[in-house]
Assembly symmetry: C2
Homo-oligomer: 274 residues x 2
Amino acid sequence: MTTQQLIEQIQIKKSFLCVGLDVDLTKIPQHLLSTEDPIFEFNKAIIDATHDLCVAYKPNIAFFEAYGIKGWQALQKTIDYINQYYPNLFTIADAKRGDIGNTSSMYAKAFFEDLEFDSVTIAPYMGKDSVEPFLAFEGKHTIMLALTSNEGAFDFQTLNVNGKELYKQVIETSKTWKNSENLMYVVGATKAEYFTEIRKIVPDSFLLVPGVGAQGGSLQEVCKYGMNKNVGLLINSSRGIIYTSNGEDFAQKAREEALKLQQEMEDILKTHQS
Amino acid sequence: MTTQQLIEQIQIKKSFLCVGLDVDLTKIPQHLLSTEDPIFEFNKAIIDATHDLCVAYKPNIAFFEAYGIKGWQALQKTIDYINQYYPNLFTIADAKRGDIGNTSSMYAKAFFEDLEFDSVTIAPYMGKDSVEPFLAFEGKHTIMLALTSNEGAFDFQTLNVNGKELYKQVIETSKTWKNSENLMYVVGATKAEYFTEIRKIVPDSFLLVPGVGAQGGSLQEVCKYGMNKNVGLLINSSRGIIYTSNGEDFAQKAREEALKLQQEMEDILKTHQS
């Protein structure tokens, strides 16, 4: 999916919501555990119930890997299901990968070619030659960690280097890399006041924003400081949507939470565009 | 495997070699491609041919993920094979993971519990709460990126923060984390002159050293500056060993390369201990 197509979907759906699929077998409704593939059944129900309210799905790869081969099979079925039935949804492999060049190429192949995701999240610590193999894939997007939503973000990301914070240096340097137009950035919703500074460096880039909901970030604040002329934000909610209920009504309850966020977004978009 | 057991294995085998399993189907002997599981068959032959010359195996997870479910099955079979037949070998899941707390816990579960690796490599960018979930596993080891072997290491890792280079700050900060005694560090062989400085910060920790061979690092230089009283080094070679030949003699040729390194290590150990 191209960036332009993503922008169109945001306009059509009046939503810039991303639903995170962090499937934990200890948290999903018990009646699903007797099915052949509980992880996929859970995802399928969530996707069917929310696809018209969001523009993106973000499977969290750790939550599949933790279940070994069965988990990887569920991941394959989940991405295939989205690509087959809801091809207008933007898909994000939340994998936080990154390694030396030939290894990053293999990760890129795994997520872009084998699984056919539109995008993958990556970590910047190893620098240019660990990221460019992802950027080389035409029509695919690489979402790099910049300023994350967790407490540990303050351990290294905000350290002062060359008179600026490390995360700013990371974003600035990444703009010089080959095919950098394929970059998006992860910026946590818990750091809303930082969006102003980040928009000075990357006014046009899309930002993937985790941390609304369960982690305490504010949608209004993020939009106030982070939105650009094309919206430029994908706001992720995982646990706040998918674990609203663990009864038989789980998908309906997830829809209700997604709808609340979509409506809040629709209101924000009206104000933003007027 | 405990650190003490690893030290004993180094003394018994007179080797601190780690063989990296980066299995690329375009590079392995063609006759293996007709077998049911070429990746596992390749690994099995390499392991059988080198197990007495090395103390560790390091499957590079990207090279399995790139082949989807089949790749994940081959990974499972490879680690099971090592654990069953060569339980004294230290196993490293070279995965470079790291995410917010509950997600890192799932990655730790994947590699320590589901696959039963002794250790996993992780990236430090997200800080304390992204690493401590790995450290919480008793009897397991977390190998954190410090100064990597690639060119991109100079993009961020060597930037000056608080009057010192970022990688030094990363190592220093990590020593304050809970269960930090379970930490080892990745330091590239291509940066041999940096080992002196690193040993001032972590004199006793094990360092996993990629970059000898294909990437141009020198074993002699690394040992000169990086070895401690318990050796404290695991020197990895991947392509330099496993792709010596792509004929039917590939395992024998791999053994010959591993033997050269083991003998060089034995000589170094003699000098070191005298």
